[in-house]
């Protein structure tokens, strides 16, 4: 009831596949949608936001289907990838004009519009027409328009594009604040290193199919064909390497370029950590042990391939 549910959803554009047989249940929190160009991310987002209808299956958002427009669209806010605005409107007028469609009183409309504009930090520029905005400002005013009616479901297509580092950090903080308030924040992004930073859940797509979904760590654990990589910093890397070569669960050991650590590939992370504890008790001073490939970038490369563009 509280999730975004895709029940065996397929979408075709004529003969062209948009997404195929998608079954998902997306809980509240920040969820990142990653995949190469044409993988079906925008199709999936458009269906969550009610702009597209599935060719097969059904999409239910917190128990409501898009046919119930008056309930459904109050719950959903969507900042699309389309960098387009109605002509001649100022930033404030843009947010306020469409907010009126929700049926708020004039006073409430103004209050909510200002509140959203303040949340994206655009109050000073809100009196200028959107045509004169920079790309980052346009991105932020669209975000303000999407959050102005306080939706429970916020869908954002590449929301960090064009933002400077400060605005990026502020926007990520805003997503996290909205998620902490119990909202679903669904973000498509092609910047994989930010996925770990931003999201609680990840959905990876390729060629119209969901290839993986869940928490990054959980996804990584399920990729058996790629042994886990662990970076170890210690005082005797050569000695440690020689010890590890003899262990069954170790697939590969490489000395780090700075010769102050090792990169180990292991079939069983848990078994390896136990072994490492044992070795550490025998005279090797270990400074740090950290997984080297349980981030979104690595999981993406294993599942979809590094040759694929993520955008």
């Amino acid at each position: 009831m509280n999730d975004i549910v895709f029940d065996n959803v397929s979408k075709f554009y004529g003969e062209i596949l948009g997404v195929n047989r998608v079954n998902l249940s997306i809980p509240p929190g920040v969820t990142s949608l990653v995949g190469p160009n044409g993988s079906g991310k925008t199709t999936l987002m458009n269906m969550i936001a009610g702009l597209l209808r599935p060719s097969r299956g059904r999409v239910v958002v917190c128990g409501v289907e898009p046919d119930d427009a008056e309930r459904f669209f109050r719950m959903v806010g969507y900042s699309t990838q389309y960098d387009s605005f109605p002509r001649g409107l100022t930033g404030f007028e843009f947010v306020e004009s469409y907010l009126r469609l929700y049926g708020f009183s004039a006073k409430d409309t103004k209050r909510l519009a200002w509140e959203a504009i303040d949340r994206v930090g655009l109050r000073e520029a809100s009196g200028r027409t959107t045509a004169g905005y920079s790309k980052g400002m346009r991105q932020r005013i669209r975000l303000a328009q999407a959050i102005a009616h306080r939706p429970r479901i916020l869908v954002l297509d590449e929301p960090l594009n064009g933002l400077d580092p400060l605005a990026r950090a502020e926007t990520i903080a805003l997503f996290q604040a909205l998620a902490a308030e119990g909202s679903h924040v669904l973000i498509s992004t092609h910047i994989l290193h930010e996925v770990d930073l931003i999201s609680d859940h990840v959905i990876m797509m390729n060629q119209g199919y969901v290839v993986a979904e869940g928490r990054i760590r959980g996804m990584r654990d399920e990729i058996a064909e790629h042994p886990m990589q662990v970076l170890i910093r210690c005082d005797k890397p050569e000695y440690l390497a020689s010890r590890l070569f003899h262990e069954n669960q170790v697939v590969e050991v490489r000395l780090h370029a700075d010769r102050a650590g090792l990169l180990v590939r292991t079939k069983s992370a848990d078994g390896f950590y136990k072994l490492l504890n044992h070795i550490a008790l025998n005279g090797v001073q270990i400074e740090s042990v950290a997984p080297a490939d349980d981030d979104a970038q690595s999981v993406y490369e294993y599942l979809i391939g590094s040759e694929e563009s993520t955008k």
Binding site: G50, E70, F73, Y78, R87, Y98, L101, G103
Partner: protein, 279 residues
Amino acid sequence: MTLWRRQILAIMRIDLRKTFFSRRGIWIWLLAFCPEIPMVAHWLFSGGGEHSGDTLGNDVQILAAIFQFFYLRVAIFFGCVGIFSNLFRGEMMDKSLHYYLLAPVRREVLVAGKFISGLAAAIVIFGGSTLLMFPAIFWHHGRELMSAYMFAGPGMSHLASYFAAAVLACVGYGSLFLASGVLFRNPLIPAAGLLIWESINGFLPALLKKISIIYWLQSICPIPMPAPKGTTGIASLLVIDIDPAPTHLAVINLVLIAAFVVVWAALRARRMEISYGAD
């Protein structure tokens, strides 16, 4: 106020601004007010008087010809193409339609709101111009003669009829072009088809004549325009040998046609999806 009324007002607020004040719409204003230019020029340069057949009676006929052959068939027709087709298709091309579709507005309310917005703009522009045509063409006959024509003669009734015809032309053509904007990627193609159909209306059998907008509009106009003797060639395409319907029937039929088309467009709009890429 109920939700749908507030939503219609909100839609009108956005759309009226676009129609009235956008640079793209300047040609519609020019088209609407271009009949006044030769009328005022005639007033300024003819010197007035009864010379060379410049009588009020002649001007009544000239106004009838301009209104029926140019204003209804060209100015209002193309003006409505510009206003009503853009209500949906223009937004699709500007990639801004999704802002409406993401709001909690039922599609029927959205179509109704956009139709009312287009209609309000079209009536202000074309109805306003129709009202202005009277002083523009008759003023040079002098205040006394004009007052006599307007208040003691048929002037006021003619003015009301022309205004009603202009409004109903906006209703009829507007509904068709709104629907074409919902249904077709390129609404100019159905517009061209409709233009041809309306142009050959005079040559059609009685039953087919009635499946048009122009037939009913001609029936509302106060001065029938029979084909001048010896009209041949392209000019004959513009002439309707009219067998007018009663005015009340014409009004009812135009309103019913428009209502049917708008309801149909609203039903089709329920399935409308955003596919800017395909456009």
